[in-house]
Subunit: 454 residues, 2 copies
């Protein structure tokens, strides 16, 4: 049997872990600097918690866990004879792997409401699983890094999250990111103004593709969806949505002046834009984009999406405001807002831009060559002392040939090697070899410590 792992999953080496942890730690410490506190939820939830929350496509992509024991015992033979997988699944599977962090968060809020201080600011960095077709950059197991606030409708949350994106990407050295901003109310307003309220979803799905298929493509798709020429004509200003943020917002204001919901959306966008202007961002750019429509069914106000301008990979983060996330679990009127960071894409971008160059995997600072048990004991006593100073030190376990032991030191890129035989032991000294320069010196313990300590 040739060993392998399931498609869409990955093993991670020490170097990859060091690089990934660097991203995790940057996000985590920024979340905390903004007052968020961590929670963790189980890898699997009751199926009833997850199913039906992500649409039909989502339900299909959720990994279901087979019940333990004799799961067929109580199944009606007739049901089995039907061979209907969809009907059988809920009878033989009661648990499923987390599909995202948002639904488990909503479940958490409702379940623990009595213990929470509102507004509740939580972050969560955990893996999720999706039975998606694996492709470049898309995995079946991947991490999400989410921050959400529930219990406040204040637009100052939007302002906080935009600053948070800016702070994280700036800390990662990723200076050319654009934070695109839209508002679900603006999308609803546009649909209203062109007289196609009932086609809001079709309309936004088409608009969302502007980047990929251009104006002509969008117009064609709108026609296919049964949106008439006159309506499409009214959309024209959106395609030439240019100028400064203020100019864009003014255009929108004019376009939506007869839509109450649309005007509300523009006024929210204006508030956020003006205040971000006043506060200033480190390096990110905030940019209104009326074609931005991600997660439409879910978001009720602001919609955000982040792209790295220097690397073509799609969004590296996204989020928005939702008015009724916990409603699915019976808790109404809990407005919130959240954003997410896409670890794998951020990793890809940092790698492409060579921004990992300072990240090092843990490796020994010093290796003691093993000449036999007497020498190994002398080495081990010294190693014990060095470790107290945080020095990563080890003894080569076997009294192998010199060449083999030195080869190990080279392959692990160890900076210092100690050779201590009977004469060194007698004089309580150490022959210390600097592996970079090849220089070899005989030193006592104090000099050894001083040389190796960081």
């Amino acid at each position: 049997m040739k060993p392998g792992i399931p498609k869409g999953t990955r093993d991670f080496s020490a170097m990859e872990i060091a690089q990934r942890n660097y991203i995790f730690e940057t996000i985590k410490s920024t979340f905390e600097k903004f007052g968020f506190q961590p929670i963790e939820t189980p890898s699997f939830e009751k199926s009833a918690t997850l199913m039906g929350k992500y649409g039909e496509e989502g339900d299909r992509l959720i990994f279901k866990i087979l019940n333990s024991g004799d799961y067929l015992a109580k199944i009606d033979p007739q049901l089995l004879a039907e061979k209907n997988s969809k009907k059988l699944t809920p009878k033989i599977s009661e648990k499923a792997l987390r599909y995202d962090l948002t639904v488990p968060f909503a479940r958490y809020v409702v379940q623990h409401l009595n213990d929470l201080v509102l507004p509740f600011k939580r972050y969560q960095i955990q893996p999720v699983w999706r039975a998606d077709r694996p492709q470049k950059g898309r995995y079946r197991e991947f991490y999400q890094c989410d921050a959400d606030v529930v219990g406040s409708t204040s637009l100052w949350q939007e302002i906080e999250f935009i600053q948070l994106y800016d702070a994280v990407f700036n800390s990662l050295g990723l200076q050319h990111v654009t934070i695109k901003i839209n508002n679900r109310k603006i999308l609803a307003g546009i649909a209203e103004v062109i007289g196609e309220q009932d086609k809001l979803i079709d309309f936004t799905i088409a608009l969302d593709k502007l980047d990929k298929i251009g104006k002509e493509g969008v117009v064609q798709e709108l026609k296919n969806k049964g949106i008439n020429e006159e309506s499409i004509h009214k959309l024209n200003p959106l395609f030439s949505f240019e100028g400064s943020n203020n100019e864009r917002i003014k255009h929108l204001e004019k376009l939506l002046e007869n839509s109450e919901i649309g005007s509300k959306g523009v006024s929210e966008l204006r508030f956020i834009n003006e205040h971000i202007d006043a506060i200033g961002l480190e390096t990110a750019l905030l940019e209104p984009d009326v074609t931005l429509a991600r997660g439409l069914n879910y978001y009720t106000g602001t919609i955000l999406e982040v792209v790295a301008n220097d690397v073509k990979i799609g969004s590296i983060g996204g989020g928005g405001r939702y008015d009724d996330l916990t409603g699915i679990f019976g808790l109404k009127n809990m407005s919130g807002m959240g954003i997410s960071f896409g670890l794998d894409r951020i990793y890809y971008v940092l790698e492409e831009l060579d921004l990992f160059n300072n990240i090092k995997q843990p490796k020994p600072d010093i290796l003691f060559i093993n000449f036999g048990n007497t020498e190994a004991l002398y080495a081990t006593k010294t190693i014990k002392k060095l470790r107290k100073y945080g020095i990563i030190a080890e003894l080569y376990p076997d009294a192998s040939k010199m060449k083999k032991q030195m080869g190990y030191a080279n392959k692990r890129q160890i900076s210092y090697v100690v050779l201590a035989g009977s004469s060194e032991i007698e004089q309580q000294q150490f022959t210390l070899k600097n592996m970079e320069t090849g220089e070899q010196t005989v030193v006592n313990y104090d000099v050894l410590l001083k040389t190796v300590i960081k």
Copy 2:
């Protein structure tokens, strides 16, 4: 629908996460200090990788993942009609959640052998899942923290791992731990000497219960297993296994002098004990225990188990030497040794002994009261500056009543609150309230920063 989580799983709050991370970080940094490097493997493996590796009981406790899509489509209707869960499972499930970290590690070594430097020292801290009956301290999702070396038969590895246990528990402030040590060869030797080689497993299972059922109980169980009176009589010295480590080892040596394998085991034990004596442990105690038998089928040499003397909870760590771990994946002669830390039990012990008292969850250092948009903007600009110094600062998002905002500050145990209205803004100052003393002072930005910075 009342929200809840599957039995045997847990949500973790910020405080619990801080406490758990303290344990993880202590273990992780000690692993690294000893030269181990991290790897991570996927949460689920191919079923073929896991099944059959943990015995029949293990196979039963592995969580299986249902195939995606129409998994029944190609199933023979006759097989379905049989209603045999065990036979159907491999047809409808090809993946399973990790049951431990050891088998995935063995798979990793064989799969990535060409990229590894031998001896390969890896650590791995990840959750595992078992469909065990949940009970106090036993969960269906829990973390394991493992360190293993493969590619060396040197007993210096044993000495390293004993020092590693000592270093971790000492760092955690857990000073009364006993590291019990035995050797599978000693157990084999005893079985040989009493003439019951073929009953080695029965014999060690009985012996392993000495703690719980006493000598009488063990003798009874041995009788039940068909071990004769004469053999049992020969075991007598084991029950009065007392004295210093050296004395115990001498007794064993005598007892096993006619068994080649037994004598080998005693000599290994003696080597380890003598060298640990010479090196010295920080606070842990090393203690030979011939009744220790954990994971017998798996270990081939040294067996270790750690108990906290002050808290009755069973072992908080264990491990041992194995000669053929990777053999199951076709790679022979790869001797290794590994140990594991039981996070949940260590957590329980630290909690019982009140050793978490310095652990704090992340919370804001300072909260700015929200008096309206003008004040919020003034606050946000200041917060932005404070965060650059690593200060956790936030604005209350809504211009709610003072009582509500102060209530939030109290519940989150925030140390400082800033009240800045129009007069403070005019003078570019801040009214700073120390929430512990109740003292309120008007300060400029520099004093504000100096007061709050850690």
